[in-house]
């Protein structure tokens, strides 16, 4: 999946323009942390030069509109119909349609590859805000569109983007009492969906390795075999059993450097957390309680692990050092807390909360303070972070009725809880796991 291409800024023009555009920043920039803001109005013109240019613009529009920070101006409103990709547009025309930003691009064929140039114009100051140039294989056009989306997002928000990423999830089909659950992988926007497991047995809780080369997940064995943790190469499909234990092993997670996998192993009514060295397959016990310790997650720096345990009666969140020990409870609110996930920035821990009113997705600081709920429902579960730590994905399940399973769908929400939207999937879906940015 490596992308053979060059990435070059379009020279000093872009940098100089950013410096000069200070007055326009109020318009083409956005502070996501502020309690309220208006989405940035932006026009994305079909890229010129090749049929794929229109498709790329479509992907970018979709990304920006869906993230909640932008308002994409429909092409029917455009006054200037023929925008050249290299020379400045008629800014007045774009101001008239209310745009703060304008994205233009050019696709050219170079040998067997495509070369894509794009520019983001700051319409308010009539300056170029940013621009990039790429060369890659033609079938990578979607990725290029995601990378351009990330560049625009970063220029406008000051935060890293998250569009050039994938999502692993559990695809669900069939009747509720014999549901087929397969691991699937797709692009963040729902494109390029493919299945990783065959659906013969239930497979759950996929997680990406930091390089995206492998995923770990739990699957039942054939003929009612007990659930085990598997490590599978995404491209080759080669899969290995990650340790064969007497009891059920589940809830696997990679360490940030990919060298270890932590997981739960259940035996004789107790469930504890273990760490396995991926290379040497050495197993080490990290917790030793008579209770259920599960859903572990490393801190972003790899020094700590947050998990949930019912050692105090009901599920609560605990933190321990990555090598085990020093366990302390951090959640003290009303209700049960589960599936803690440490933000890639390290600032928050997202969780599922179960209380009398139903299920919720929330975040708290790593010391347990500052709890805030972002989504609620009959059943919402399993938050996962976008690599920039600003957006979460989770799943919603509707109540079943008349013997039919309620629908299960993926959703994303930003950490202010303002914008929630459903993520399209070909089938019912649960248990999303957001990948890091795809290595370029």
């Amino acid at each position: 999946m490596m992308l053979p291409r060059r990435t070059t800024m379009l020279g000093g023009v872009a940098l100089a323009a950013i410096g000069a555009a200070s007055t326009a920043r109020a318009q083409l920039t956005i502070d996501m942390t502020r309690p309220s803001f208006e989405p940035v109005p932006i026009a994305i013109v079909d890229f010129k030069g090749d049929a794929v240019g229109a498709q790329m613009a479509g992907v970018i529009r979709n990304n920006l509109q869906n993230c909640g920070l932008f308002r994409v101006i429909p092409s029917s409103a455009y006054i200037q119909k023929d925008v050249d990709a290299t020379s400045p547009p008629r800014f007045q025309d774009w101001r008239s349609v209310g745009a703060a930003g304008l994205v233009v691009g050019q696709v050219t064929s170079v040998g067997g590859n495509i070369k894509v140039d794009f520019r983001l114009w700051d319409v308010v100051t009539s300056q170029q805000a940013t621009g990039l140039s790429f060369t890659s294989q033609p079938n990578n056009w979607r990725r290029l569109a995601h990378i351009i989306s990330d560049a625009i997002y970063k220029r406008v928000t000051g935060e890293e983007g998250y569009f050039d990423t994938r999502v692993a999830y559990v695809s669900e089909t069939g009747p509720a009492n014999a549901r087929v659950k397969r691991i699937a992988i797709m692009d963040q926007d729902g494109a390029n969906n493919r299945y990783i497991t065959d659906g013969k047995t239930i497979a759950l809780t996929p997680r990406f390795s930091p390089t995206l080369q492998e995923i770990v997940y739990m699957a039942y064995g054939e003929n009612n075999g007990p659930p085990r943790v598997y490590l599978q190469n995404v491209d080759s499909g080669r899969r290995e059993l990650l340790g064969n234990f007497p009891g059920m092993s589940f809830a696997p997670r990679f360490s940030p450097d990919g060298s270890k996998v932590v997981m739960s192993i259940a035996e004789n009514g107790r469930t504890n957390i273990y760490e396995m060295d991926v290379r040497g397959r050495q197993l080490r016990r990290l917790t030793n309680s008579p209770a259920i310790d599960t859903s572990p997650c490393f801190s972003n720096d790899g020094s700590q692990i947050v998990f949930n345990s019912d050692r105090g009666g009901a599920q609560q969140l605990y933190i321990m050092s990555a090598g085990g020990g020093g366990e302390r409870r951090i959640s003290f609110g009303e209700g049960r807390y589960a599936t803690p996930v440490w933000s890639p920035r390290g600032d928050f821990i997202a969780f599922t909360k179960i209380s009398a009113g139903g299920f919720g997705i929330g975040v708290m600081r790593a010391d347990g303070s500052g709890e805030r709920m972002l989504a609620n429902g009959f059943l919402v579960e399993g938050p996962t972070w976008a690599p920039n730590g600003r957006v979460l994905m989770f799943f919603r399940q509707q109540p079943s009725s008349g013997g039919r399973a309620g629908s299960a769908t993926l959703h994303q929400v930003d950490i202010t809880g303002r914008f929630e939207r459903q993520v399209p999937t070909p089938t019912d879906a649960s248990d999303p796991a957001w990948s890091p940015l795809i290595p370029q």
Binding site: F245, P246, I265, E267, N268, G269, R270, Y274, L283, R284, R285, N288, P290, A291, D310, R311, G312, G313, A314, Q316, R329, F332
Partner: protein
């Protein structure tokens, strides 16, 4: 498979006959007879104990959490309290621009709650600039920068010997030495404070510290003599200060 060495085996195996007997003896035999198999009974008891342990674990966690929260709250309150006392001692009321609370104190501490509010600027030469010098030195003291604090208080007293904060500054100057265990200089500073600023708001603290410093230098009888003067010089000292003196007298076996 070393990790599984500590498996809980089925209870029949884990409980040696002797232990089972012990458990049986420890429980009312009537209850035991009511139940069918011993194994089920023991399993039940284990479950009950497990549940109780879980419940208690939860309660302990919550108590620890409450305890930590209260302690944090107390520390904040104490910091705020000390800040307010200091403000009071500095002039009975807030001074212009001096209402910024100490870091760590509760944010809403607008000046002092009561008392007259003479403007320090009118009270003595030096005025606002002097006040600022005092505040800066005090801040250095809080930060643990005793050298800078010493310099600041010394300069303040030299420039504003008549300022109503001069007695405080003299006392804190002594504290900068005391904190560094420089008892000789501390003794000089506290002695100077007693001599020149006997009636300053910090007078009682100053005398107390003079005695303690002497004691630290091994001059017990001098210390006792100092403590003996306390009630006479400061009949209106706080109970806390009086108690401290009493403690010190006992510690030094003063007659």
């Amino acid at each position: 498979m070393a990790a599984f060495d500590v498996n809980i085996a089925p209870p029949m195996k884990i409980l040696s006959p002797r232990f089972a007997l012990l458990v049986a003896l420890a429980l009312p035999t009537a209850a035991a007879a009511q139940r069918g198999g011993d194994a089920v009974y023991i399993e039940d008891r284990l479950n009950q104990l497990q549940q109780m342990l879980t419940m208690m674990t939860g309660q302990i966690e919550q108590l620890q959490h409450r305890n930590a929260s209260l302690q944090q709250q107390m520390e904040k309150m104490q910091a705020d309290y000390e800040y307010r006392i200091d403000q009071l001692e500095k002039g009975g009321g807030g001074k212009p621009g001096g209402a910024a609370p100490r870091p760590g104190g509760l944010a809403a501490a607008p000046a002092a709650p009561s008392g007259p509010a003479p403007t320090p600027a009118g009270a003595a030469p030096g005025g606002a600039a002097g006040e600022q010098l005092y505040d800066e030195a005090f801040k250095k003291l809080q930060e643990g920068d005793y050298v800078a604090a010493e310099r600041g208080f010394k300069t303040f007293v030299q420039r504003n010997p008549q300022n109503k904060l001069a007695g405080n500054a003299q006392y804190w100057l002594g504290e900068t030495y005391y904190a560094r265990r420089d008892y000789n200089n501390a003794l000089t500073a506290f002695a100077e404070g007693y001599k020149v600023y006997k009636t300053s708001p910090k007078g009682p603290d100053n005398l107390l510290k003079l005695g303690i410093t002497m004691s630290n230098l091994g001059r017990k009888s001098d210390a006792c003599a100092v403590f003996a003067r306390f009630n006479q010089d400061y009949p209106r000292a706080t109970d806390l200060q009086k108690r401290r003196i009493e403690q010190e007298r006992q510690k030094n076996s003063c007659g």
